[in-house]
Symmetry: C2
Subunit: 481 residues, 2 copies
Amino acid sequence: MNEERLVTQITPKSEDFSRWYVDLIRRAELADYAPMKGMMVIRPYGYAIWENIQRLLDRRIKASGHVNAYFPVFIPESFLRKEMEHLKGFAPEVAWVTHGGEDELEERLAVRPTSEAIIGHMYSKWIQSWRDLPVLINQWGNVVRWEKVTRPFLRTTEFLWQEGHTAHETFEEAQEETLRILEMYREFVETELAIPVLAGKKTDREKFAGAEATYAIEALMSDGKALQMGTSHNLGQHFARVFDIKFEDRNQKLQYVWQTSWGVSTRLIGALVMSHGDDSGLVFPPQVAPIQVIIVPISIGNWRESVLPVARKLKDSLQQAGYRTHLDDRSEYTPGWKFSEWEMRGVPLRLEIGPRDVKNNQVIAVRRDTKEKSALEMSGIEGRVGEMLVVIQKTLFERALSFQKENTREAENYEEFKKTIEEKRGFIRALWCGGEECEARIKEETMATIRVIPFQENNVTGKCVCCGQEARTNAYFARAY
Amino acid sequence: MNEERLVTQITPKSEDFSRWYVDLIRRAELADYAPMKGMMVIRPYGYAIWENIQRLLDRRIKASGHVNAYFPVFIPESFLRKEMEHLKGFAPEVAWVTHGGEDELEERLAVRPTSEAIIGHMYSKWIQSWRDLPVLINQWGNVVRWEKVTRPFLRTTEFLWQEGHTAHETFEEAQEETLRILEMYREFVETELAIPVLAGKKTDREKFAGAEATYAIEALMSDGKALQMGTSHNLGQHFARVFDIKFEDRNQKLQYVWQTSWGVSTRLIGALVMSHGDDSGLVFPPQVAPIQVIIVPISIGNWRESVLPVARKLKDSLQQAGYRTHLDDRSEYTPGWKFSEWEMRGVPLRLEIGPRDVKNNQVIAVRRDTKEKSALEMSGIEGRVGEMLVVIQKTLFERALSFQKENTREAENYEEFKKTIEEKRGFIRALWCGGEECEARIKEETMATIRVIPFQENNVTGKCVCCGQEARTNAYFARAY
């Protein structure tokens, strides 16, 4: 009998990836379904990851000169109607407030699906002169999009995110900001979440409703499907024109500002599950793991007297050293049950300590990523634990990078393209003529979309993988969440 | 001409407190009106205070064993209808979502005015056994209450807050939690916001809709009106019964859990303005000030070459030492303008540095609270600045405490009570029979309400200040926001 299966009751990943994903999220108490369709509750174990993401990303946002603010959750319908592309993009997904208390409202209010419209309105009041620029504001908050098909963390009616909204004097400055943020996202996701990404530009068909250009980072999940991890938009002067955000420039001439917006969301938690998880459950990179080190005392003999005090001291000294450490001292579960429970919950490092270990002044360390065991001496253990967490973080990234590389393939022609997508999934790098017809046909026939157009691919020569006409660029295709 | 008035364009506090409050909040860029009635935008300078409050309070919430989570912003109407008192209390203030995209919803969704109902539902799924207890969850988020009369920070249609929701095995544990949190709030507000409070119990008339008992901390604003700063509710088993939150107790018997809930909000930012502000503008306690130290170079002669490099070094070393420091190096404003600008914005400590100071290896320090000037030697300045910030924090608290004491008066009879409220405002401590009739009559005739019933006042003897019958307790009365 496989004890682990008994304990975790999770569909094996290899058997049914979708079931595995949902089972795991609920069983590990990352999230639960709310009673309203498409909504979820982020439970403490899942929310702790979001707090780590917030802390690590907010630090980067502030270091690059941005400040946080808070704008209303409601946006008047007339504001959304001002930018037609924007409206068309979001109207089908908007939750509408029509009554306040007993009274019907004169104008419907949208629960914000994104905040360009309300922020544009406020910027038009705040910005008068080039001296007021750039405005570099970020907001952490909740947004609502009425989605038809939902999945915990990946696509839910409400989600948490950050949305940056900046205003600049020139197009060039806005473009620099757009790409600076894209690079910040890439570095953040690869460093802290240990997930390698492809960065590049979206096609016009896939860009944000109301943007001049959208850039994105895309990662490959371990089932071979792509997930958009974050987007950075150059908004041009679209919103400035409709919300009348003008400034007097350095030559005393009135100009519209140039804007950007950008965001990442709680979707990143889903990415962590799908990138690193395995048949034993979650595997969290140490940098964002809610618990980095789990201590499990081996409950034999008089362990409460002999082992527990040593385990407690160990916990205190690891916490003191700054590691998120938990001691599982429950009597009602066996050590074996606890091992698989905390493996399932993705804790990067387990320290087992029994009577013999106490005598030998050591603990047994077990890595979640490789399941390797090693004995660690008690003296100086804080340093050793720190080193192991660094190695685990690095190993997870390298493993995911190998997977990404192995699953990024070229396709010379459409037959090969279709065969690869059908049989292997993953990213396909292929030449594209730049035409919307080919893009649409590929999506229709293979369910693959262009995830990003990579940077610095100006000198391509060859034929479009779909129509065979002269290609304009390389593109990365994949089936995506 | 008074340069300061020219600069700040703020109604003097002594002339019109309400205008002063609103002028100051907008002029100092703490917040701005949103285009929707009763809603505001929290601007970066105001949001930075909220971030400091969050950081300092979240640390206390976690240290006492609580964890954060996130529940949906929408609550089905039927859930709110389950607890009748709760419904009656909140229904008039609820914003209702009736449409998702193009479709009308089968059931209206409330935008959460508070989360007891949805959290109660989830707890009924998560709690089975006494082993699952206590559940100690907190949430940081936004809530909406459709208020008729609004004022920035104090009462707005949407506000930000934290709401704790706990579940326990026994009434006693829930009561202990309720009072532990009240004490946490008191200590937090007095230590970090430098605002002294009265702690006690609310009357049945003033308690939370659906609570067994509500406890609160109340502060006196500098116009003599009281402001409720935070509440902690013992919910008894009210929500457990309607949401069926049962657990198997230690004797294998099914029991309803005992619950608490508690919160503080962005209202605390309004309290900071009204407690410490003066005719020159805001005065922030160093612990929560967005900027703790402002450095103003004296722009004469070749200051950009002689003074600015020294000012920059000073800024770097103060930031290094952990102080939130800003250098105002703008050329387009005079030092005098900057002095009153940063006074208006409430920065606790100003450091002026001119050519002579550079020569003498010193800066001129000016305290915002007392406007006292002193020369500080450059060497070891980080320590001196730290000491001064501690003194300023302490002085603000003591000043507010003196004000509170001077404005807390006894009233022997109803004539005296009415005269004091009318002429002096402040807190009135008076005996009360415990009857709702007297409470209502006092409110009707004097606009004063019972803010709290103090603890440990069991052995009162005397007559009710209103009806002259035997008194049951002392109570603190005030006109309130």
